[in-house]
C-alpha cells in the first residue's frame, strides 16, 4: 500500500510517516498544499491513499479532495484535523476523518477502515 502523507508540520509528518512505515506502508510525503497537489496530479502518480492535513499553510486539505478524486480515482482520502468539529457531521466527501492527537492504534484503525483493510493485520 502506497500512501501520500500531506502535513505542513515537519514533526508530525516525520512521526506519522515512521509509524506507518513500521506498519508496512510505503509513505511519500508532501509539506504543503502546492507540493501535495503537484504530486497528486503528476503523470503516473500512484497512491492507494492520501492523508490530508486540513490546515496547511497555503491551503486547506479539503480543497485537495477534488484533485484526488480526478487524478487518483482508486485512492482513498483521509482528512486529518486538529479542529475536528469543523469536519464532523459535514458531507466533506473524505473516506475518513482523523483527529490529530488520536492515539496511533486508533488512528491506524481509521486509516485501515478508509483503505478498506481489516482493522488489524
Amino acid at each position: 500500500m502506497r500512501l501520500l502523507l500531506v502535513d505542513d508540520d515537519e514533526s508530525n509528518r516525520l512521526t506519522l510517516a515512521v509509524l506507518l512505515e513500521d506498519e508496512g506502508y510505503e509513505v511519500d510525503v508532501a509539506a504543503s498544499f502546492a507540493e501535495a497537489r503537484a504530486k497528486i496530479v503528476a503523470p503516473g502518480a500512484a497512491y492507494d491513499g492520501v492523508l490530508l492535513d486540513q490546515h496547511l499553510g497555503d491551503g486547506l486539505g479539503l480543497d485537495l479532495l477534488g484533485a484526488v478524486r480526478r487524478h487518483l480515482p482508486g485512492a482513498k482520502a483521509v482528512l486529518i484535523s486538529g479542529s475536528i468539529s469543523e469536519l464532523e457531521g459535514s458531507s466533506c466527501g473524505a473516506d475518513g476523518v482523523l483527529p490529530k492527537a488520536m492515539p496511533f492504534p486508533e488512528a491506524l484503525a481509521v486509516i485501515r477502515r478508509a483503505l478498506g483493510e481489516p482493522a488489524s493485520v
Binding site: 508530525n12 512521526t15 506519522l16 515512521v18 509509524l19 490546515h55 486538529g82 492527537a101
Partner: protein, 237 residues
C-alpha cells in the same frame, strides 16, 4: 462625553477570542500529536529490549507521557473561551442590512463607498455577524490605502450566492503570496495580530460561503460570498 457604542463590539470580541483559541488549539494539537506518536514508536522499540523489563520506570514514564498528552488533548476539547454560536441570531434579511451595518460601524480613515445591487436579494444569516465579517474586510482594506484613498464595498446577487466585494487602491496582493493572507496570527501591520480575514472567512463558511482573493490589476479585491439558500444551516433552528 461618551463615545458612540459600537454595535458589533461584543460579536467582535467573541469572534476574536474564538479565532485566537482555535488557532492555538490547532497548533497545540500538532505538538501533542508529534509527542504522542514519537513516544509510541520509542515505546514499541523499547519493549523489544531488556530495558523494558529491567527498569520498571521505563514503561511507567512512557505511560506518563501518553497520559499527559491525552490529558492535554482533553483540555483542548473542552470549552476554551466563548463561542459565537451562543450569540447568533439568524433570520431572513435583505443583503443591504449587513453591508450598511458594516459601513456605518467601520473604523476607517479613507472614504468608504458602498454600491449594492439588492433587488430581491435575501439571505439567511445573523446580520450582525455578517456585518462583522464585512467590516473586517473593509478595515483590512482601509489599512492598505493612504488616508486619501478610497475603499469600495460592492455587492451583487449571483446565481447561487450573494457576492460582496471589498476593493481598495492599495499596493495589491502579490499573486505568489495570495494564500498567505489567510495565515492566522501572521499579520504584518503594527498593532494587529492578523485574525480579521480568518474571522471573516469563518463567518462566511458558516453561511455556506467563503472569502477569497479576486485577481485585480490595481489594488486588492477580496470577495465574501454567502449562499442564497434560505434554509437554516444544520446546526441551527
Amino acid at each position: 462625553m461618551s463615545l458612540p457604542r459600537d454595535p458589533l463590539a461584543l460579536l467582535e470580541a467573541v469572534a476574536f477570542s474564538e479565532e485566537y483559541v482555535s488557532t492555538l488549539r490547532h497548533d497545540l494539537r500538532n505538538k501533542l500529536a508529534s509527542i504522542r506518536n514519537a513516544a509510541f514508536y520509542l515505546a514499541r522499540r523499547a519493549q523489544k529490549t531488556e530495558l523494558w523489563g529491567d527498569d520498571p520506570n521505563v514503561p511507567r514514564l512512557f505511560k506518563i507521557i501518553d497520559d499527559s498528552a491525552q490529558g492535554a488533548d482533553d483540555l483542548l476539547h473542552g470549552n476554551l473561551g466563548p463561542r459565537s454560536a451562543g450569540l447568533r441570531r439568524p433570520r431572513r434579511v435583505g443583503a443591504a442590512e449587513p453591508a450598511e451595518l458594516a459601513a456605518a460601524s467601520a473604523r476607517v480613515g479613507p472614504e468608504l463607498r458602498v454600491e449594492l445591487e439588492v433587488q430581491g436579494a435575501e439571505l439567511y444569516c445573523d446580520p450582525g455577524e455578517v456585518a462583522l465579517a464585512l467590516r473586517c474586510l473593509v478595515e483590512n482594506a482601509a489599512e492598505a490605502v493612504a488616508q486619501q484613498g478610497v475603499v469600495r464595498l460592492e455587492g451583487a446577487p449571483g446565481e447561487r450566492a450573494y457576492v460582496f466585494q471589498v476593493i481598495d487602491q492599495g499596493p495589491g496582493i502579490d499573486p505568489a503570496r495570495r494564500d498567505d493572507v489567510f495565515l492566522p496570527l501572521a499579520g504584518t501591520k503594527p498593532g494587529h495580530v492578523g485574525l480579521g480575514l480568518n474571522i471573516a472567512r469563518r463567518i462566511a463558511r458558516h453561511y455556506g460561503g467563503d472569502v477569497y482573493v479576486v485577481p485585480s490589476d490595481a489594488g486588492a479585491a477580496l470577495a465574501l460570498t454567502l449562499t442564497r439558500d434560505l434554509t437554516p444551516p444544520k446546526d441551527e433552528p
